[in-house]
Amino acid sequence: MNKIDQYLLNDDQVADFVINGYHIVQTSFPSKFHDEIYSKLNNLSSNPGDKINIAVSELDEIYDHPSLRGPLQSLLGEGYSIAEHRHCHKNHPGTRSQRWHQDNLNIPALMDGHTRSPDHIKSVLVMYYPQEVKSNMGPTALIPGSHLFRSAPDRNASQGNFRDQKIATLKEGSLLILHYDIWHAGTANTSNKIRYMVKYLFERKKESEKPTWNHSSSNKAHILDRLERDEAATVQRSLIHKRNFLRTKMWNNIAGKGSLEYKYHDKWAGSWPEPKM
């Protein structure tokens, strides 16, 4: 077993990503390593933009570690690529919250015909946090399952807090892998410490002929059941069928021969419901 294989996701973890649109990786680097990165970021006199990895070369060690490469191979297939675009978000104390948004498609690194992919995993964002992120330090907020829908940012501008939003309060050194289309936002930093987040982009290069994760065909019925039943953030009933269809289509698009057969099965047989008193 090579180093990446031991970090490949299993069927349930891939299903979690398909359902929710995110996955968290805890890196095994010592605390001192992340502190050093934080310190180097803090000493940058200007924003190096895409060259943040040259200005702070330790970042590439993080992004090249098998504990990240395993999940990336699982989600993007073998031979995935790293995009030229990188960004360091410097969130000062007093920074206000962003609005809910999907990231822009009009960036040069994605100009090769990139579109929204609600039924596939073609690209992911990987956010690295060199410091612990507490709830008052501008954590990233996201809406689980929203990657399956195209947002209308002008019309959802009046939606503030979602009941089922997730707030990414994380340990130092955490990596947050996001489906590129997930609705997310940086939140307000009301602490007295700068919160850094470095963002890299990774892209699928080819369609997978078989699952590129730790897959067992014996899990198919269980996975299909999860894709049909598991809740992410609650949405209106009229979107549930569309959501569940897109989940299965996404799984099938990344699984190749490991595709699920979307056919009728009796999911109602069994115990009668208990009477409501």
Partner: protein, 91 residues
């Protein structure tokens, strides 16, 4: 003291005011009022729009009763009600 309008946006799971709320934004009539995602939020103030009405909020905008446009690729999560309270307010 003066009478001012407080505005509450509540999105619900359906057009039924008793269906569960999904999102919330409260706009207070203050110059320095900021409405944003609150990472320390422990949930929404009201479980349903009806619960807000019971608490004295008045619905001033009901969500569109027509079904969503099947040709639209964009989706809005929830059905939005806009409510108001007119209250004495100290700046």
């Amino acid at each position: 003291m003066s009478l001012k309008q407080r505005i509450l946006y509540l999105s619900a799971e359906s057009t039924d005011p008793k269906s569960p709320t999904l999102s919330q934004a409260l706009h207070e009539p203050l110059n320095d009022d900021i409405v944003e995602i609150d990472p320390t939020s422990e949930g929404l103030d009201y479980k349903t729009v009806h619960e807000a009405v019971v608490d004295g909020w008045r619905i001033v905008h009901f969500p569109d009763q027509r079904s969503s446009n099947p040709n639209s690729e964009e989706e809005i999560i929830g059905f939005q009600f806009i409510l108001e309270k007119i209250e004495d307010y100290n700046e």
